[in-house]
Symmetry: C2
Subunit: 556 residues, 2 copies
């Protein structure tokens, strides 16, 4: 009798459940629930209280509705008996966090806090805590906090303590009323099991925790704000659980929501990007996973601890237990091509695409694929949305060089693709030079399915074979795999994520191999890229920052 | 009784006659004749002999047809009596040159040379003489020829001796059969008057002649090719006549073609750009004329001789007798905006323009005009077609910097306009720093009529008032003015081009004054422009040249 496991991936706009056969990894059924309140960035539901710019909230009840809607659906679609579902895993955007009462009740569902913006879930892309992030960084530097090195020297406004401190700064009464401050990832697991747990992935990547050093000191937190000194004891916990463990069994209440059996194993929570790593077959060092969508998240495992300058962070047990999980990122990839199509694709191409029943991206790819490396004479710096690794500088901006009156749209399009590939090569080489070797790339996410030219260019530019995950929903598959691990071997699952990956994760047969003649040209172009990268990115000519200042002045 | 004068402007595709009232400069009638053989760049007429790439020829009989068609037309349209037309002036593209027999018969009309490409008129944009230009420059440097300084250190493949040497190199029999090698400008005056003359403008700007030093030495010409040593004596003349003089009276034959009276005064020939200077009211130092179309030609008068680095050239008596005429240029202006609209204007804007019955340029201008200087955060180097002044380097290419995911098409459009204005400011300041002061700009050509934003930006960026010529056909008006000067005061014309300009040339009332708040921002942006200009343009980072080499290799 086949056993099944369910993975649930909480994204920005919706949640997705996938029911997977444990033995084979076959994805049997999928269901999606779009959050009824979506991303809340203009005004609060019901009260209509307006939000400031850069705010982005969510409604925690939407997350419960994901369980209530998608799990019954996948059971029904597949005809699988609830008794054959042995485990459940979830992954979430991060840092997405909320304040709750001691029993897990979100403050925002309580009538007295319903109209308080700070009582709601702060979504990962809530960017209004920049002053708090600046303070966190400045005081860390003043106090010589060595943990800054683990995060490329800078804590983001998106991360946990920036958001928590913003609550304290702007709504001290909400902060005081919050018994718990918790990642939404851990909160939904709490809702499933009735047990509060905290996972090592979000703690490590978003909340300055490490297995060896724990959290920053009370002294440090106190320096940020006197009432912040005891945040860990008061509203969080020192007990951080490695991913791959079981959080608990499904509660009676959650069984009612989902139609699953009470006691079904629920895994410790995970982050959407990181959980995709084993789903892309990677459970060992040397093979970098790239989640390629609007941006790229790069993840690679290392056997030891290495400070790699300019990366997003590294966390022991953060991705796969027993390894250091290293993370890097590029902030503008799919977004880059989308920008180009919206703002620069000429009308004639739009007409041609329409006449041929193609997507404009397909048409541009087709035209761009006819060209040889170097043939456009163009070069770009892929900083349309700043640089996340290795320069870690949001104030950098895009550059296109080499244009002539003969330059065509597809040449610019191809150049933007190449620029993002050069950006990835900088990351790969920086890891390699700092003790984290990489000999193969594994791609997953939305882009690899759509654009073969892009895949070939990444292989050619990095000089490494590039493989592609078979699953088009790797985060959900990864969560399902962790569900099977939480269930354990005796229940028909797996003893570890390594074993689960061997059976359940798969790559496509097609491998993109670097073409030596392409590599030769791209090596020359990369040298030019690096020179411009350092000239504009490392302080020799800060024109990009000065232009942003002039722009800010002009806008008043 | 009113007197009249006719100016004829020979362009790339057609010739245009304007009949003008001498006293007021009022343009009474205009007629255009489109060359029946146009630009010959694929195969010769009749014989069908194919041409190599980069060739561009014309048919000299088309020029005669301009006289035969347009002059009778303007007489008819205006009802002016031929006896009241006192003078005739012409201007031409340059260097546009041809080989003829001693009596002026073009070689290409003779049956024995009809199928020889080198026997035809070489149009200004014939670019196949680059090897000859390279040789001219290399040997000049070897031999320490000081005249190179007059031309920014480089002779163009478009100029007279490059083209003449190509005839000798590739078709020695045509070279031998040519009794005369002559600018088309001078050739059409010869056809009108029966007298061969050579004008100081084309000789100075295109044929390395100067009033004080004459032509390069026989020794130098001989070093290019033994048979080239005596080119001046054999096929040209040392007798160069300043513009503003009378070439002769209309011949009986030309009177028959045109319907004008035999003996009507014909002026010494002129170049289309340079002849526009007095038509734009400028006959004294300090006011720079910009002919703004696909490219910009900048002209300013100076009282003394100054070597201004990186300019196209300066010629004593070259524009206005008694002054040094300084010329500079930008190779990509209107072309730049046309490129943008063709290759980068998004489909949505094309639809909006169509729906509102506007030209897409107008729409982009409207949107761009809503922005403040510096508000886009963008900066560009306007080198899409290389740099003609002051870097004199065709291998430079375009750069756009500062793009973000929020960058809109109109912001890029405005930035390209600003970049061309910064390019003009570099020229203005280089003149100023080298003893040729400029306190005002006067624009003419196609662009100023169309784009007020562009005019304001040029005023703001250069910090100088910008005025616009009233005439939309300044070259033809200028030629007509020189016709009135050739006729002289006694015939009802003018004693000098200064007097003619005072009476016949006019500027629009609207003056674009620099706005101090704009200047402040543009001064900051100009500083950034200059730094990038020097970094990429003066050898610190030759990435643009290396990309062009990589491109050439890739194209095989």
């Amino acid at each position: 009798m086949s056993k099944y496991t369910i993975g649930i991936d909480f994204g920005t706009e919706s949640g997705r459940a996938v029911l997977v056969e444990v033995e084979s990894g076959r994805e049997v059924a999928t269901a999606v629930y779009t959050y009824s309140n979506g991303v809340i960035d203009e005004k609060l539901p019901e009260s209509g209280i307006p939000l400031e710019p850069d705010w982005a909230l969510q409604d925690p009840e939407d997350y419960i509705r994901v369980f209530q809607n998608t799990i019954p659906q996948v059971l029904k679609q597949s005809g699988v008996d609830a008794g054959d579902v042995i485990g459940l895993g979830i992954d979430f955007t991060a840092c997405t966090m909320l304040p709750t009462k001691m029993d897990g009740t979100p403050l925002c569902v309580l009538p007295e806090w319903r109209a308080a913006p700070h009582a709601w879930v702060k979504l990962w892309k809530h960017h209004a805590a920049q002053p708090e992030a600046d303070k966190i960084n400045a005081i860390a530097r003043q106090m010589g906090q060595t943990w800054l090195n683990r995060y490329g020297g800078k804590i983001s406004s998106e991360w946990f303590f920036s958001k928590a401190l913003q609550i304290l700064d702007e709504a001290p009464q909400v902060y005081a009323a919050a018994d718990r401050l918790i990642e939404a990832a851990d909160w939904v697991v709490w809702q499933l099991t009735g047990v509060e747990t905290r996972n090592s992935c979000t703690a490590g990547y978003k909340a300055i925790w490490s297995k060896r050093e724990g959290f920053p000191s009370k002294e440090y937190f106190g320096a940020l704000h006197p009432q912040f000194a005891d945040i860990i004891e008061e509203k969080m916990t020192y007990d951080i659980r490695p991913v791959g463990q079981k959080a608990g069994g499904l509660s009676q209440r959650a069984a009612t929501w989902t139609g699953l059996k009470p006691g079904t194993a629920v895994a410790i929570a995970n982050v959407d990007a990181h959980v995709a790593v084993p789903a892309a077959t990677v459970t060992e060092p040397g093979r970098m996973v790239m989640i390629m969508g609007t941006s790229i998240c790069h993840m690679v495992l290392g056997s030891g601890e290495h400070v790699v300058p300019g990366m997003c962070g590294y966390v022991e047990d953060g991705i796969i237990p027993g390894y250091f999980g290293y993370e890097a990122g590029q902030s503008c990839v799919g977004d880059h091509f989308a920008w180009f199509v919206e703002h620069c694709a000429p009308a004639a191409y739009q007409r041609e695409a329409q006449a041929r029943g193609m997507d404009i991206h397909q048409l541009l790819e087709e035209k761009a694929a006819r060209m040889k490396p170097g043939e456009s004479g163009l070069l770009a710096l892929d900083w349309w949305n700043g640089n996340r690794s290795v320069l870690v500088d949001v104030d950098l901006s895009g550059l296109l060089l080499g244009a002539t009156l003969a330059t065509k749209a597809e040449e610019i399009y191809r150049t933007l693709i190449e620029a993002t590939a050069f950006g990835t090569r900088v990351i790969v080489e920086t890891f390699q030079q700092n003790g984290v070797p990489i000999h193969e790339l594994v791609a997953c996410g939305g882009l690899p399915e759509k654009n073969k030219l892009l895949m070939q260019i990444y292989a050619d530019v990095t000089g490494r074979p590039l493989k592609v995950s078979t699953s088009s929903q790797t985060p959900a598959l990864g969560s399902a795999m962790f569900g099977a691990v939480a269930a354990g071997e005796t229940a028909g699952g797996y003893g570890s994520i390594y074993h689960a990956a061997q059976k359940m994760a798969r790559l496509k047969d097609e491998v993109f191999m670097p073409v030596p003649e392409h590599q030769e040209v791209y090596d020359q172009l990369y040298e030019e890229y690096l020179r411009l990268h350092d000239y504009f990115g490392r302080g020799e000519n800060d024109v990009m920052k000065r232009l942003k200042r002039i722009r800010a002045d002009a806008r008043g």
